[in-house]
């Protein structure tokens, strides 16, 4: 019952937001040309918003490719991606000493026979208190492995689709702010209900000065270029704000990899265990 009502409620609130606070302006937003149009799914639509004022203005509607932004939301693949991102650079430094590494224990503690005691050869045997550890953790243990290429691609599409479905994805025309005050950005994020943590994504890694200065002091609002976009960061931040040019780049890169015919030779070089 609740599940039936909630999406409706959500829609009504968003509708209210659209019609009350949002002023749709007549600024011309170029329609997007979708590469590799999907036969089975309709393109999705999203508003392009502004960042130059605290009040939200809708600048226009653009279309999103359904293969990227309405893909099957595979939570398991997202989990595999996150696990891989955490593990591939993790090296365990837990360390225990083996029998021969523990100091002492070279002498036989007592004769083999005749004492009525259990036979022992060293006081550092794993059976003894203060002895070595059998099969303990040894340092350094790398946990590097490579996730298959298309699992990584599907992780990106799944996460982007979920972010979009849960209204946590916003598109802006650019990242130009009128001021470099951090209070402006904080107020903007608060008034638009973007949640405390926000990730801004642009197509280049040289961002406008104002937003760079403003986000410099706020730890939970960050900037990221498209080449750094990853599943872990998208899930870490509550809201994802992507510029229109970054949307183009993300879509073209993912679609290019989903539609290439030389994937066998292409993914071959990412295999770790090759002869």
């Amino acid at each position: 019952m609740l599940a039936n009502i909630l999406p409706k409620l959500r829609n009504t609130t968003s509708l209210c937001r659209y019609f009350s606070s949002a002023l749709t302006t007549n600024e011309n937003i170029e329609p997007r040309h979708l590469q590799y149009p999907s036969v089975y799914q309709k393109p999705r639509q999203i508003w392009v918003e502004n960042l130059d004022s605290i009040d939200e203005r809708k600048l226009g509607l653009i279309e999103l490719h359904p293969t990227v932004f309405a893909a099957n939301p595979r939570i398991d693949i997202i989990h595999q991606n996150v696990r891989w991102q955490q593990l591939y650079r993790y090296v365990s430094y837990a360390h225990t000493k083996l029998k021969f590494e523990v100091r002492g224990g070279g002498r036989k503690p007592w004769p083999q026979k005749g004492l009525g005691k259990a036979r022992h050869s060293s006081i550092r045997s794993p059976l003894w208190k203060g002895g070595g550890i059998a099969h303990g953790p040894r340092s350094p243990t790398p946990h590097f492995y490579m996730l298959p290429f298309y699992t990584r691609i599907n992780g990106l599409t799944s996460t982007l689709s979920i972010k979009f479905a849960q209204d946590d994805l916003h598109v802006v025309d650019n990242l130009e702010l009128p001021t470099d005050e951090k209070s402006f950005l904080e107020e903007l994020v608060k008034s638009r209900n973007w949640g405390p943590s926000v990730l801004f994504v642009d197509d280049t890694d040289i961002m406008p000065r104002n937003i760079t200065a403003a986000t410099d002091e706020i730890k939970h609002i960050n900037l990221m270029p498209v080449y750094g976009l990853n599943v872990y960061s998208m899930l870490k931040y509550e809201t994802l704000v992507i510029t229109r040019s970054a949307i183009d780049l993300i879509e073209s890169k993912i679609l290019e990899n989903l539609n290439r015919n030389d994937d066998k030779t292409f993914t071959g070089k990412y295999k770790v265990n090759q002869v």
Binding site: P7, A70, N72, H79, Q80, T159, S161, L235, N261
Partner: protein, 292 residues
């Protein structure tokens, strides 16, 4: 897939926000590795308990403790003698070919040969495993509509009829292993900087096939082939489209030289991809060698 995806995405709208804390893998997809206790990991490593399994003192293969062994009981019947030396032609159906053309992975306006088929990335060929080209099979012959100049290595009568009914032409051609290796990955071959080899003539047991006009062999007499085209049309009961009056007549009549591997490139030439030049042999000896 899209329907279930839409359903799931719709459901997600009413669920809490996905974050690092509420994701998980499918249940049962990972099993934790356990360390065996005791000597040798507490296991017998598949050898079982005692006996010849552990000691590896097996009887010799086929020995039946004194019986007349099975392998000696019957006279030898060499069904597969020489099987590993036979030429293989991995199949591709006409349905696949039509699909490749419909999806623009093959260009109809140019002759379609093995190089074009291999460049689609869909058809895989392994010359080192005695595979000598494509066998076009008749699956989907009834819906084949493309008017093409096709060159394959093996084709049945029905396939030939289907291609010619659609207004196209078909040739069966032989390529030796060195030529096939050059065709597999053209870019890689050109980057090696060696001259394009001459195509060898077919071996003795293949000459009959490739000189047969009913098989549209590339070494057959062209006049006999046009005769056979009419015969086949009468046999299958269709009117043969006149390719002489066709707009694409020039493309349809394009043929490779029996010594040629790539269209437009002769044996002996070196293709330099970096400087974008083609180097042709000048010396008389070489010219004579690469002549067909």
């Amino acid at each position: 897939m899209s329907k279930s995806a839409d359903k799931a995405l719709n459901l997600l709208r009413s669920l809490p926000r996905l974050c690092l804390g509420n994701i998980r893998d499918n249940p049962g997809s990972r099993s934790s590795r356990k360390r065996g206790r005791g000597q040798h990991g507490g296991d017998k490593h598949g050898a079982g308990n005692k006996g010849s399994g552990q000691r590896q003192n097996y009887m010799r293969l086929g020995y039946e403790t004194g019986n007349n062994p099975f392998y000696l009981r019957f006279p030898n019947e060499p069904y597969y003698k020489g099987h590993h030396l036979k030429r293989q032609y991995p199949p591709m159906s006409m349905l696949d070919l039509q699909r490749l053309i419909d999806l623009n992975r093959l260009d109809m306006s140019k002759p379609i040969d093995l190089v074009a088929i291999l460049n689609t990335g869909v058809f895989k060929l392994k010359p080192d495993q005695h595979q000598f080209g494509v066998n076009l099979t008749d699956e989907g012959a009834d819906i084949f509509k493309a008017k093409i100049n096709l060159e394959v290595q093996w084709a049945s009568e029905l396939v030939i009829a289907a291609v010619e009914k659609a207004g196209g032409v078909i040739t069966t051609a032989y390529y030796d292993q060195h030529s096939l290796q050059a065709m597999l990955n053209t870019r890689k071959f050109f980057e090696r900087g060696i001259p394009i080899p001459r195509r060898m003539t077919p071996p003795a047991d293949a000459i009959e096939y490739y000189t047969d006009p009913t098989k549209r062999g590339y070494l057959a007499d062209p006049e006999k082939i046009s005769e056979e085209r009419l015969v086949l049309a009468q046999k299958y009961g269709y009117t043969l489209p006149k390719i002489e009056e066709d707009k694409t007549y020039e493309m349809l009549t394009q043929r490779k030289d029996p010594r040629q591997i790539f269209f437009g490139l002769n044996p002996g030439w070196v293709v330099n991809l970096r400087n974008k030049v083609i180097l042709k042999p000048q010396e008389e000896k070489l010219v004579e060698f690469y002549q067909s």
